[in-house]
């Protein structure tokens, strides 16, 4: 809905935007849990933080004393806080053993902190393959590139299984760093409007010759799709003018925390950008 605001602003010729200071009361912090189990055999992670005041400086308040476990029907994986004692991994809990999630299984998260217990469940679905990636010059960007020589776009090809209900999350990388058109972009989709052959859909951003472009395609559950949909609506809220008033995303976490516990199969493919 912010887009309508932008269009309307164009019309008023001299619409003006300025930073204002809201007179906000301090809020009671809420726990935020972010967890991911993929089908890759790695140390899976869960992050536990707390919200801070809107005008607080610095990042989230990290929580290091939580007790975190993930279980499926057969076994329970325990997680430890920041096992490598790295300062930028505060609040991150890694599974003590490497494990790969399996499609068809339901994973259960349990986080206990200061006597409060939060739980969540998510089903891991299989993901379709990325058939190929190609690159080509984007005519418009070529004429007026934002960065010298950066005018290639990466195109993505896949086959959407039409007989199942699928949900996807995409992440795009340039030379290993995540790339988006806007800081708040989230690339995700259900398959309701999708045809079987996805041919040459441009991914985010522009590349230079020789760059390595990567696409990661995650299978997500319906509740993750709902979460990302709610999250993008909140991130792009226009303040409730043309769209809904901002509201917290619906989460699969029980017990009063925000965030999401996601399980995904991941398909990944990379190319080197060529002519």
């Amino acid at each position: 809905m912010k887009k309508i605001l932008i269009i309307l602003s164009l019309f008023s010729f001299a619409a003006c935007e300025e930073t204002v200071t809201l007179d906000l009361e301090n809020s009671e912090p809420v726990f935020i849990i972010e967890g991911l189990v993929t089908d890759q055999n790695i140390n899976q992670y869960v992050r536990v933080t707390r919200s801070v005041d809107f005008y607080a400086s610095g990042g989230a308040e990290t929580i290091s004393n939580a007790v975190v476990t993930v279980s499926d029907d057969n076994q329970t994986f325990t997680y430890t806080h920041n096992p490598n004692a790295s300062t930028d991994s505060l609040g991150y809990y890694l599974s003590t053993q490497q494990f790969a999630g399996e499609p068809g299984k339901v994973y259960n998260l349990r986080v206990e902190v200061n006597g409060q217990v939060f739980t969540a469940s998510d089903e891991l679905f299989r993901v379709t393959e990325i058939d190929s990636l190609t690159s080509e010059i984007d005519e418009e960007e070529f004429e007026d590139p934002d960065e010298e020589g950066e005018f290639y776009e990466m195109l993505f090809y896949t086959t959407e299984p039409q007989d199942t209900k699928d949900y996807y999350l995409f992440k795009f990388y340039k030379n290993g760093a995540i790339i988006r058109d806007d800081e708040n972009d989230i690339f995700f989709s259900d398959d309701e409007l999708l045809a079987e052959n996805i041919e040459g859909v441009p991914t985010a951003g522009y590349y230079s010759l020789g760059d390595t472009g990567t696409v990661e395609m995650y299978s997500i559950s319906n509740s993750a799709f709902i979460y990302y949909n709610d999250l993008i609506n909140l991130l792009l809220s226009d303040g409730g003018l043309f769209g809904s008033p901002p509201v917290n995303p619906r989460t699969n976490i029980q017990g009063g925390a925000l965030g999401f516990f996601q399980t995904s199969a991941v398909a990944s493919r990379s190319i080197v950008i060529t002519d």
């Binding site: 930073t19 045809a195 609506n233 003018l241």
Partner: protein, 785 residues
């Protein structure tokens, strides 16, 4: 059963013996403007000897039945000279009268310009007529006079901010207003997302807003009726006007087809910023247009025919890659017929279509998305002027609606989009109404009536049965019930009583009271404050109950200074049941299981409205002040806690004035002040992956800064106009004279500098206030011929 009411109505007209079985004669006819032959709606007709009278109906017709005798009839209307004529009535008389704007000499007619006292004597309350001539002299954004902007200044009316065409009446949301152009509903009255309305000032004859005391002939929306009527076209001489403004140009032509019998009017308006932009090589283009056309044939007083059409559209095109457009098309055919000297009938056939389209032209992701809402209405409205103390109105309205919320088609063979369509929905809406305006005593008059609304959600449609009809996360359909064409899915019957009363305290003052119940069976699917054209509508259905509003209002009306200044104070309480709202995080666009997002709750609003108005003289205008409060309580929204409505504003003050300085110059001004509207703001923030997310605890718990703005205008008519066939004028406007940065909305983002580079470590957020218009001068050149 639905025909019972009509039968009762007919019986009342034809069989009820009159109380005094005394011979009566009827005088009837039309009251018109002497210059162009346009009928005057709501003109006052008084029989001086009896101290009683009537007003012309919405087609300009009046009739009074009185014992034979000598009478002086007085005809008056705001802005016109009053005409008095003596009659020696021995049998029925047809008398059409034309009221002059300038003093004229005529035999056996007395002309005066005494102001009239309708404010005090009329039963109607909570109602305002808008004077389009005054609107044209007031300051206008980009020089485009806009009747909706004037409506937004009336007491009891709230706006969401400048640059929107939506308005909120007595605690009702924007979709609770029934907006009619020549009786046809306009589903989205906005151009350019609301910067202007679809109403072209050149063709408007008359418009009025009811916010309470709504007569039984109107229904279908909860909060207000805005009725806009277009001109019939001058049936005396050919003429027209044209205007060139900064943003749009317009032309209007009108004239007789057969003098005094038949006339036409055609008018067009188009914005032309795109023409300049295209020339400048700009690839993002936009324009809007409106076309109004009307012909009429007034065969005689007994049979008159009208055909009116309106079509308007907005077209946006971004680099030939992406575009969208929306618009309304309406058509009205009307037949006015006199069954006898006291029974007036209007038969209308009305069609309306609102549609929008979004289109992306792309090999891999091309699509076309269309949505529309069509309706066809048959209306039979009758006025029976029974005697000098009773005027009956009754009728039957039948509407068929087809809602097509969306269909998506790929536009290339390689598009990633599959062809998808949301199910159409259909509805049949019957309404029978009966009302009477009755004079009980010299002081007390009442208007009472009832409207029976029978709404049917009909096939063909597949209705899904859900395991849990309110599960919007994982809706599970357990069954599907298929309905064939016109098969009844769900019927809702509502009886809507309406009553208004006026008690005259003395020659200068009266008190009035009203109660009305309204039912609404078409629901706007939007959770924003301001509707956008891409919203869709849904009929009442097994999952959506009719919205019901009960409103009481009480008012004191007083005229001072020989009726030149009208004062009113009104207070109201409105209670809405089943107000349609949506779950938090509702997905309202292209949702197959839309019904799982519906949440209906309660809404209540109360307020005090004060108004002082001066309609005649060199200085005219009004001051209005409204204190009001509107809340909602909707299950599962805002954690089940009541919250202020998005459009709640505690205090609103508006001043509107025009001043005729001399023959060359006139001036106009507006001032508006209101408390800021509620806003949902973050209580904190948190990180999810690398997104900085707002933490929300309460809906509408904060308020935007106060809104205020002043606009000024001047109209200049050059001296050299006098001796030529065409006249010109210049309109100058300054919008937002002191360039106040009024908050349109506030949103949040990661802290950035003016170049859009992140400040700090990217964790911190900031609130950004958007203001639309700084000081904006404009100039418009008009010619009239």
């Amino acid at each position: 059963m639905k025909y019972t009411l009509l039968a009762v109505a007919l019986a009342a007209v034809f069989f009820v013996p009159e109380i005094k079985a005394q011979e009566k004669v009827t005088i009837n006819g039309f009251v018109k403007d002497a210059e162009n032959g346009e009928e005057l709606i709501g003109a006052t007709v008084v029989i001086k000897e009896l101290g009683t009278g009537t007003v012309t109906n919405v087609y300009g017709f009046y009739a009074v039945s009185i014992p034979p005798g000598k009478y002086t009839m007085q005809y008056s209307y705001i802005g016109y000279f009053t005409i008095e004529k003596e009659f020696d009535l021995t049998s029925d008389v047809e008398f059409n009268v034309e009221l002059p704007v300038e003093a004229i000499q005529m035999d056996d007619i007395v002309i005066t310009d005494k102001p009239i006292d309708a404010n005090v004597t009329d039963i109607k309350m909570s109602k305002n007529e808008l004077d389009i001539k005054q609107v044209k002299k007031l300051p206008a954004l980009f020089g485009e006079p806009d009747i909706i902007k004037m409506i937004q200044m009336l007491p009891g009316v709230i706006t969401a901010g400048e640059g929107t065409s939506s308005f909120f009446v007595r605690g009702g949301s924007a979709d609770q207003n029934l907006i009619l152009i020549d009786e046809a509903p306009v589903y989205d009255p906005s151009h350019l997302f609301g910067l202007f309305s679809v109403f072209n000032a050149d063709v408007i004859k008359d418009s009025e807003l009811y916010r309470g005391g709504i007569p039984s002939r109107y229904g279908g929306r909860l909060s207000s009726i805005l009725e806009v009527r277009t001109k019939d076209g001058n049936n005396k001489k050919f003429g027209g006007n044209a205007g060139i403004g900064l943003l749009a140009s317009r032309v209007m032509l009108e004239g007789p087809i057969k003098k005094d019998k038949s006339s036409f009017i055609v008018s067009a308006r188009r914005s032309y910023v795109d023409v300049f932009l295209r020339a400048a090589g700009e690839k993002n283009l936009v324009h809007f247009y409106d076309v109004n056309a009307k012909v009429n044939w007034k065969h005689n007083n007994n049979n008159r025919f009208f055909l009116a059409i309106y079509t308007g559209r907005d077209v946006f095109n971004f680099d030939d890659q992406f575009g969208f457009d929306w618009g309304n098309a309406t058509g009205t055919f009307r037949w006015n017929h006199l069954f006898n000297e006291r029974l007036f009938s209007n038969t209308s056939i009305i069609a309306s279509n609102f549609s929008y389209k979004l289109e992306q032209d792309d090999l891999s992701a091309g699509f076309e998305w269309k949505s529309d809402l069509k309706e066809l209405t048959l209306k039979e409205d009758l006025n029976y002027f029974m005697n000098s103390t009773n005027e009956l109105e009754f009728g039957y309205h039948l509407t068929y609606r087809q809602f097509s919320p969306g269909r998506i088609k790929p536009t290339s063979r390689t598009s990633l989009f599959a062809e998808t369509k949301l199910d159409d929905m259909f509805a049949l809406d019957h309404a029978l109404y009966l009302g009477n305006k009755q004079k009980l005593s010299e002081r007390l008059s009442v208007r009472y009536g009832v409207r029976l609304s029978i709404f049917q959600n009909i096939g063909n449609q597949d209705v899904y049965i859900y395991d849990d009809p309110q599960d919007n996360i994982d809706p599970t359909r357990i069954d599907t019930v298929s309905y064939g064409d016109f098969e009844n899915i769900k019927t809702y019957v509502n009886l809507e009583p309406r009553i208004s009363a006026r008690y005259i305290l003395n020659a200068n003052s009266s008190i009035k009271a009203s109660y009305n119940r309204m039912a609404q069976n078409t629901h706007l699917i939007s959770s924003g404050t301001v509707p956008i054209p891409f919203n869709t509508w849904s009929p009442s259905s097994p999952y959506l109950e009719p919205q019901l509003a009960d409103q009481v209002a009480l008012g004191y009306f007083r005229n001072i200074r020989d009726n030149t200044i009208e004062l009113s104070a009104e207070t109201y309480y409105k209670d809405i049941q089943n107000v349609t709202d949506f779950a938090d995080n509702a997905q309202l666009f292209f949702n197959d299981d839309l019904s799982t997002e519906f949440r209906q709750g309660d809404s209540w609003s109360y307020g005090l409205e004060l108004m002082a108005q001066k309609k005649e003289g060199l200085l005219t205008g009004f001051i209005s002040y409204t204190w009001s409060k509107t809340e909602r309580d909707v299950p599962q929204v805002n954690n089940d806690q009541p919250f202020l409505a998005n459009y709640d504003r505690r205090n609103v003050l508006n001043v509107v004035a025009t001043y005729e300085f001399n023959d060359q110059w006139s001036f106009g001004g507006n001032f508006t002040y209101s408390t800021g509207r509620p806003l949902t703001v973050p209580a904190g923030r948190y990180e999810y992956e690398d997104y900085q997310v707002d933490y929300i605890t309460e809906r509408n718990g904060y308020s935007l800064p106060d809104f205020h703005r002043m606009d000024l205008s001047a109209t200049y008519v050059p001296r050299n106009n006098k001796n030529r066939k065409w006249q010109s004028s210049w309109s100058f406007s300054i919008y937002n004279v002191y360039s106040r940065k009024n908050a349109f909305t506030v949103y949040t983002r990661t802290r950035q500098n003016d170049d859009g580079d992140i400040i700090g470590d990217g964790n911190e957020k900031e609130a950004r206030q958007v203001s639309l218009f700084p000081i904006l001068p404009s100039i418009t050149y008009n010619i009239t011929f």
